[in-house]
Symmetry: C2
Subunit: 298 residues, 2 copies
C-alpha cells in the first residue's frame, strides 16, 4: 500500500497503528521515532520496525508520515523533519483538535507535502505502547480534514489506508470537526475530570465508602477521568474557544436542574430526565455502543 | 429463611429479587403487588409467585415486606398496608435516598413493625420486570440503615437475606447514607442528564455526526442518562439538600477548569487532569469495576 510509513510518537495510538500495519502488511518498511528512550526500547524489543534516534532520519523516503504525539509537540516535530520529507509525502496525524494545528502547518509553507489531518475516534483510558492493540480502529470512525481539496489522489490513498486499518472514514472541515468533537468528546472529558475531582476533594471521612459504593454511578466517570493528562491538556488549549462555549451551555443546563431541585418540581425533573433516554438508543442503533446492560461489565 | 415474603413494586429491582428468591428458595411463599396491570400480567405469566390486585391482601402473613417502588409511592403504600401487617414483620425497601423516607415511616408510628431500610447498590440503565435477572445483586454492596438498634435479631435476619441474595452488607445511618450516595450516585446522575441535554439541545445541524462520533466520550454518559425518570425524580426531591450542596461544589470545580482553559494554563490543566487517575485504580482494586479497557466493551 505504501513503500514506507513513519510513525512519530508511539503511545496507545501510534503503537496500535504499528501493530495493525505490521499485521496487515500495509507497507514494506516502517520506521518509528519516539522521544522517550523507554518507549523506543519497548518498540525495538517487540517489533521489527526500524527505531531511530534521529527524528529527521526517521521520515527519510517515507510516503506516509503519521504524527501521533501530543498536539503541543507538532510544531517542533515539523521544524525538525521538514527538510527531510520526501517530495509528495502524505503528512497526517491522529490528534483530537484540528483548527490550531492546521494554522501552524499552513504557516510553515511546506512544499510538495500533502497535509491531510486524520482523527481516529478510537482509544481507551490507558496510554503508552503496552496498551496498544491491532484491533483498536476496527469499526471505528476516522475523520479526515484538509484544505487541499485538489489532493484527491492523496485523500483517496489515506482513506484506503484507514479502511485497511479497519475504520470507516468521513471527511469534515477543520471548524466543524472541532465544534462537533467539543460536544462529543471534550465536554464529556472536562465534566468527568470535574466530577471525580469534586468527589475526591469533598470527603476524606468517607473515602472508603465512596470507593465501595462507586458502582452506583461514579465509576463510569472515572474511566474517562483516567485518560492521558498531557494529551488532554493540549486539546483543551487548542480547542479552548469551542470548549468554553459548550461548557457555558452545560452550566446553563445544570442551573435549570438545580432550580428544579430547589423548587422540588417533580414535573420539571421528570421532563428533564425523560428527554435523555432517546440519544442512547440512537447511538446503539448506529453501532457505536453495546446494547448490553452496564456496558456488559461483569 | 422466611415463611412468606411480599414484594411491592416489581420493576428491575423487585423482579430481580423475585427471581433470586425463587431460584434460591429463600421463602416458602412469595406474593407480589404492582399497581401496573401490565407488570402484574407479566409476573403471573412468568413466575409462580402469588400476584394480588389488593395491596393490603398481599402483605398478609408476610414475615418480610420489601417496598421496591419509587420513593414518592411509599406513604400511600404504607397507609394501605399498615393494618394488615403481621406482628413483628420486617419492613424494608430498596430506595436510593433514606432520610425523608425514614421520617415518613417514623411519623406513621407503626406498631410491632421492624423497619430496617435496605439499599442494594445494584442496577442497570434498563427498567421494568423484563430487565431483571437473578444475578443482579451478586458481589454488590447492600447498605442497611435503621434507628431501631435494639432490633439486632431482625437486622441479622435481613443481613442474612441480602447475603443469600449474593450481596455484601454494611450498615450506615440515614444521614451518612444520603451524604455518601449524593456523591457516588446522585451527582453523577445529575451531571449525566445535564450533559446529554446540553448536547441534544445544542445542535440539530450535526445530529448525525454527534451520534457517529459519540464513542469519543459522550456514549459513556448516555448510559446513566437513560435511567428511569420517575425513580430519579423522587431521589432528587428526597435528597435535595445534599444534592444541591455537591452540585454547587461541582460547579466550583468546573469554574476552576474553565479559568485554566481561558488563561491557557497548561500547568494548571495538567495538575487537574493528573489528579484524577488514582481514584479509578482504587475502585478497580476494591473489586467495584472492571480493569479491562473501555469497560471491556466490544
Amino acid at each position: 500500500m505504501f513503500d514506507k510509513i513513519t510513525i512519530i510518537g508511539c503511545g496507545l495510538i501510534g503503537s496500535s497503528l504499528l501493530r495493525v500495519i505490521d499485521k496487515k502488511k500495509l507497507s514494506n518498511k516502517i520506521s518509528v521515532f519516539d522521544k522517550s528512550k523507554e518507549v523506543s526500547v519497548f518498540i525495538k524489543n517487540n517489533f521489527s520496525a526500524q527505531v531511530l534516534n534521529d527524528i529527521s532520519e526517521s521520515v527519510k523516503d517515507s510516503d506516509l508520515v503519521i504524527i501521533s504525539s501530543p498536539l503541543s509537540s507538532y510544531k517542533e516535530i515539523l521544524l525538525s523533519i521538514k527538510s527531510n520529507l520526501k517530495k509528495n509525502v502524505i503528512l497526517t496525524d491522529t490528534g483530537s483538535a484540528k483548527k490550531e494545528i492546521n494554522k501552524i502547518i499552513s504557516n510553515l509553507n511546506l512544499e510538495h507535502v500533502h497535509w491531510i489531518a486524520s482523527h481516529p475516534i478510537a482509544g481507551t483510558e490507558f496510554s503508552g505502547p503496552e496498551a496498544g492493540f491491532a484491533e483498536l480502529f476496527e469499526n471505528r470512525w476516522c475523520i479526515l480534514s484538509t484544505e487541499n481539496q485538489k489532493d484527491t489522489k492523496e485523500i483517496d490513498r489515506l482513506k484506503s489506508f484507514w479502511e485497511a486499518v479497519g475504520s470507516k472514514v468521513k471527511t469534515m472541515n477543520f471548524e466543524d470537526h472541532d465544534h462537533v468533537l467539543s460536544l462529543t468528546s471534550h465536554l464529556p472529558h472536562a465534566i468527568a475530570y470535574s466530577i471525580v475531582r469534586t468527589v475526591m476533594n469533598n470527603d476524606d471521612k468517607f473515602k472508603n465508602e465512596i470507593i465501595q459504593y462507586s458502582a452506583s454511578g461514579l465509576r463510569d466517570f472515572t474511566r474517562i477521568a483516567a485518560s492521558d493528562p498531557t494529551m488532554w491538556r493540549d486539546i483543551f488549549i487548542d480547542n479552548s474557544e469551542n470548549i468554553l462555549k459548550v461548557l457555558n451551555s452545560f452550566s446553563e443546563n445544570l442551573e435549570e436542574i438545580k432550580k428544579a431541585i430547589q423548587s422540588k418540581s417533580g414535573e420539571k425533573l421528570n421532563n428533564i430526565f425523560s428527554s435523555t433516554r432517546k440519544l442512547r438508543k440512537e447511538i446503539i442503533k448506529a453501532g457505536q455502543e453495546t446494547d448490553k446492560p452496564n456496558f456488559g461489565r461483569k
